[in-house]
């Protein structure tokens, strides 16, 4: 029995979708049957394996006016064709177009779970924002590279729809190598098999370093930005102070489901209640000391005394808790911002963060 022909939808902007030039950038969604413009080359590349059943077109300015809402609308149009595969652009260096392609890819993959492929120039702002959500092929900054990028996108598509596993990584997921398929890495880290052991690489590179020869580090650490220090508090006896911790102290039963490792959530709990019934959700340190006496992590008893003695104005009623064990640093930054915004909203003057 012949393999089922895959259904493809392609997203283009007003120019590549042949609606018009810059003057048509404010035009809304239009759907055309079959391939349009660069879609013809894409269809040729896909051959008999897949058919571009529709092209969804939208003006760059129109989309940029409200990307979230427009991605939703675009998604509805795409979904109505029941595609197995979705392509967008390529957008090359076009910033609005790149963001639109990325947003469309994110929405389509999020809802339909199908492979989503686009192409952008490295400096396209859409690339960094959406690289996690789509396969973004590396494109030059001019549409003169169209044929090559379309070829790249097609090749990647065939790889993604195949049931081929990537046996070179330990998890053996269907994850093509970014270098091999020429796309921007999607902020994933994987253990990959290597022909040299960790020890072999370490000795070889250190010998080179000692010989004054060039060597390549496997990681290049970032330099962090300075954070301007907030002004000091003037008089603690007039201040309300909140307690925060990343040591994983949560109410018994862990109602918010904080993970003991790679945790992405935080919770807000009554500071007094939590000391009656609690547990610890953190597998990065042995919890016995904190379980025996949670004040060793969150100094509730001392804070309460200091309030009684008039040394602190007030202890904020809510305790903010997360579990900071081996987790995604960007998400930690977000959690910090979310907690900070919440704490500021409540007119709290300062916070003490206690960490394991």
């Amino acid at each position: 029995m012949a393999e089922k022909k895959l259904r493809v939808v392609h997203y283009l902007n007003q120019f590549f979708g042949q609606v018009g030039g810059e003057e048509k950038a404010t035009a809304g969604f239009v759907v055309k049957e079959g391939p349009v413009g660069p879609g013809l080359a894409l269809q040729k590349g896909l051959g008999d394996r897949a058919e571009i059943v529709a092209t969804v077109i939208c003006g760059d300015d129109f989309f940029a006016g409200n990307p979230d809402k427009n991605a939703e609308e675009g998604l509805k149009l795409v979904a109505s064709y029941q595609p197995d595969l979705f392509f967008a652009g390529p957008a090359f260096a076009g910033g609005r177009y790149g963001v639109a392609c990325g947003a469309m890819c994110k929405a389509v993959n999020g809802e339909l779970g199908i492979p989503v492929i686009t192409g952008m120039y490295e400096e396209n702002p859409g690339m960094d924002i959406y690289r996690k959500y789509a396969f973004i092929c590396k494109a030059p900054n001019s549409a003169r590279g169209m044929a090559e990028v379309i070829g790249n996108m097609t090749r990647l598509a065939f790889r993604l729809i195949s049931s081929e596993k990537e046996t070179r990584i330990l998890t053996q997921e269907n994850l093509p190598k970014p270098e091999e398929y020429n796309y921007f890495s999607r902020n994933l880290l994987r253990n990959a098999y290597c022909d040299k052991s960790i020890a072999e690489r370490a000795v070889e590179k250190l010998v080179a370093k000692l010989q004054g020869k060039p060597f390549e580090s496997e990681v290049n650490p970032p330099r962090f930005e300075k954070v301007p220090p907030p002004a000091p508090i003037k008089d603690p006896s007039k201040c309300e102070i909140a307690l925060i911790s990343d040591g994983g102290l949560v109410p018994k039963g862990n109602p918010d489901g904080l993970a003991t490792r790679s945790n992405l959530k935080w919770g807000a709990y009554d500071i007094e209640a939590i000391f009656h019934e609690y547990e610890v959700a953190h597998a990065g340190y042995f919890n016995d000391h904190v379980l025996a006496r949670p004040e060793r992590l969150v100094p509730f008893d001392v804070m309460r005394d200091l309030v009684k003695e008039g040394k602190i104005g007030k202890l904020h009623r809510t305790f903010f808790s997360t579990s900071g064990n081996c987790t995604v640093s960007k998400r930690c930054g977000e959690m910090g911002e979310e907690m900070g915004a919440e704490i500021k909203k409540r007119d709290v003057d300062a916070a003490i963060l206690t960490s394991t």
Binding site: F224, A231, L297, D301, D305, A351
Partner: protein, 69 residues
């Protein structure tokens, strides 16, 4: 905000400005080798140190310990 942590190095690296060096990873504001009363006294010292740092002007990541400023 002031952070009390037993790994001040990471806090310094990411740019936290007010840092108090805590006791240990497994008990940042405690010490299981002490009696309950001694431990509470120690905890109070850490919190007072933290409050002191909150009232201080700093220019960048600053670590204070119980032993020295």
């Amino acid at each position: 905000m002031v952070q009390i942590t037993a790994i001040p190095n990471i806090a310094q690296m990411v740019g936290v400005n007010r840092i108090v060096q805590g006791r240990a990873v497994t008990n940042p504001l405690g010490d299981p080798t002490l009696t309950k009363e001694q431990e509470k006294e120690l905890r109070r010292e850490y919190v007072l140190k933290a409050l002191g740092l909150l009232q201080k002007d700093v220019e960048g990541p600053t670590v204070v310990t119980l032993e020295k400023e």
